[in-house]
Symmetry: C2
Subunit: 346 residues, 2 copies
């Protein structure tokens, strides 16, 4: 029997509601398999910040590190100034735990209506860099609030950082039937960063000769995402472009209510973190309306990452079956959760 230590950051708003159902799916998926899940709930997010002013202490971080993985719900409420929890908690976790692969699958499940008239088969995955780019927090401003204010933001890109995420993306592409990797950047304008990405993709391609590659400027990528999303297999891109493209990808595949993600440290030097792409949705919080599907799919990714492949597949299959028969039924968060649990239990 194996023990998995899971850190749970339910967070704010609908975060607590969807995580409850995510944990239910998780427990059900491993039941009887000899895997035992021990959870530690961490009090992080807006509530804690309002009460104590703390976002993430060294002690919190040390606690998190003692775990095998993290399940996160959603962080934030409108009472917290913009950036405080994003930079101080969410991004800090990604950076401190070196989550350099931000993995975001985009799949149009049968039964799910796309806002596109003719989406075709959509099944791609975005490998978004998670520890560099414009997200590094290397910005500043002078003469703030005066007519002479200058505010800068620096995108930092290193060969080390780009190469490791590009290699991960190639490995994922090589393991898929189509074996195709698309680099998205804007190298005709951001020439220094862009050319580093481009050269890196060319160089690493030598290690994966089976994988075909192409390149799209980020603006053109949003067009293809609208007119021909089937063309994508694996996309590799920087932190900011990945943020933008994955929300668009979620939109065309049924909405962020279904979009899962993994903040992965492939070297396993620290726990990886799995979370729905959506936020804390204060407008519907506490009403049992939130769709826990994105969290349950994130649980499937978590299981996959832990090597519990069979359990991961069961969870994904349960979601696929539920979506196929969902139609226009309105169910509560708990109802969706128990329907999914029932399917997982099989």
């Amino acid at each position: 029997s194996r023990n998995v230590k899971l850190a749970v950051v339910a967070g704010d708003g609908i975060g607590t509601e969807v995580v409850e159902q995510g944990l239910r799916a998780l427990e059900t998926a491993v039941a009887g398999s000899g895997v035992e899940i021990t959870t530690t709930e961490l009090d992080l997010g807006a509530r804690r910040w309002h009460a104590t002013g703390e976002t993430l202490t060294d002690q919190d971080l040390a606690t998190v590190r003692e775990h095998d993985a993290i399940l996160l719900g959603a962080i934030g409420d409108p009472g917290v100034p913009s950036g405080v929890l994003e930079r101080g908690l969410l991004l800090r976790l990604r950076f401190e735990l070196d989550h350099y692969v931000n993995l975001r699958p985009a799949r149009l499940f049968p039964g799910v209506r796309s806002p596109l008239a003719d989406p075709g088969e959509v099944d791609f995955v975005v490998v978004r860099e998670g520890t560099e780019g414009p997200y590094v927090g290397n910005g500043g401003a002078i003469r703030v609030g005066t007519p002479h204010e200058v505010a800068n933001e620096v995108s930092v890109n290193t060969a080390f950082g780009v190469e490791r995420v590009v290699r991960d993306a190639f490995a994922r592409a090589a393991a898929r039937p189509r074996k195709h990797l698309t680099l998205v950047h804007k190298h005709n304008v951001l020439v220094h960063a862009g050319h580093l990405w481009r050269r890196t993709v060319e160089a690493v391609n030598a290690e994966f000769p089976d994988v075909t590659t192409d390149y799209l400027h980020v603006d053109a990528a949003t067009i293809f995402m609208t007119t021909n999303p089937s063309r994508f297999d694996v996309i590799v891109t920087d932190n900011l472009f990945g943020d933008i493209l994955t929300d668009q990808a979620a939109a065309i595949t049924g909405g962020i209510g279904l979009a899962a993600s993994g903040n992965i440290n492939p070297d396993r030097t620290s726990p990886s973190m799995f979370e729905p792409v959506h936020g804390s949705a204060p407008d519907i919080a506490g009403q049992g309306k939130a769709d826990p599907t994105a969290t349950v799919l994130s649980v499937s990714m978590l299981l996959e990452h832990l090597g519990l492949t069979e359990a991961a597949a069961k969870v994904e299959a349960a979601v696929a079956a539920d979506l196929a028969e969902r139609g226009d039924r309105v169910r509560s968060t708990a109802e969706v959760g128990s329907d999914l649990a029932a399917r997982i239990a099989g």
Copy 2:
């Protein structure tokens, strides 16, 4: 009678083909109105660069400045290294001529098929900042080509630059029926630049009390662009987010074959430049296949900018009528051009 001095940069690939039809529309629209157009063709772009290594000389720039406006087709071919003509010619024109308003209307004309299943009425305009942000060329790299390479790109944002474009966007919103302005940024991550934009919108709002405002993170904006584009009236955003969103906006309103743009200097200290959003499309160049509609719509914006409101309206009405009856007919570039000219001539 009035004389308008127009600098024409037809450029490369389909650029020359579409500009020919754009000029035809222009001439037809002003015929008999007492306005005389004198054109100067400038040899700029890939051909010139291959022949001479020049992108834009001081003499070229001086010549351009002697004109009332610029009509640009498209720049670039695959033989020119990425960034050379973009930074050295296209962006240099925008920066030197202080085109701080990059105006990009997004309208779903009746008769045009959107890739969205249920687009609703789409009629918004993006005011993209044109002289700052990540486009300033303030980047660099060290240890290039080694495992220790670091490549940075700096987004520079000034109170001066943000305020003037925000004020322009408010004025445009105030002149529209819905009077709504949406700021798009990512102020929860790019906190310094983002907060400058946010504070500026709040401050300038006092001068336009009729205009309502809201805010979207750029990732969320791509979702609404997919699920509810009707919600947008005027969008104001930075140079890079504007680049991305306007390609997506073009995609949902029928493609970049229809997307017009103006690089505008509202202070009229130098000529403004009008161009289709699409590129030189080397794959279809020289075949008479390119749709000149985006260029003709750019001509309408050019006329509007010159105060030739009636001529501008005639051109736009001709395009609208053509699109309404276009259906699936395949016409050559010249055929579309002459159909449009016939409608403009009325």
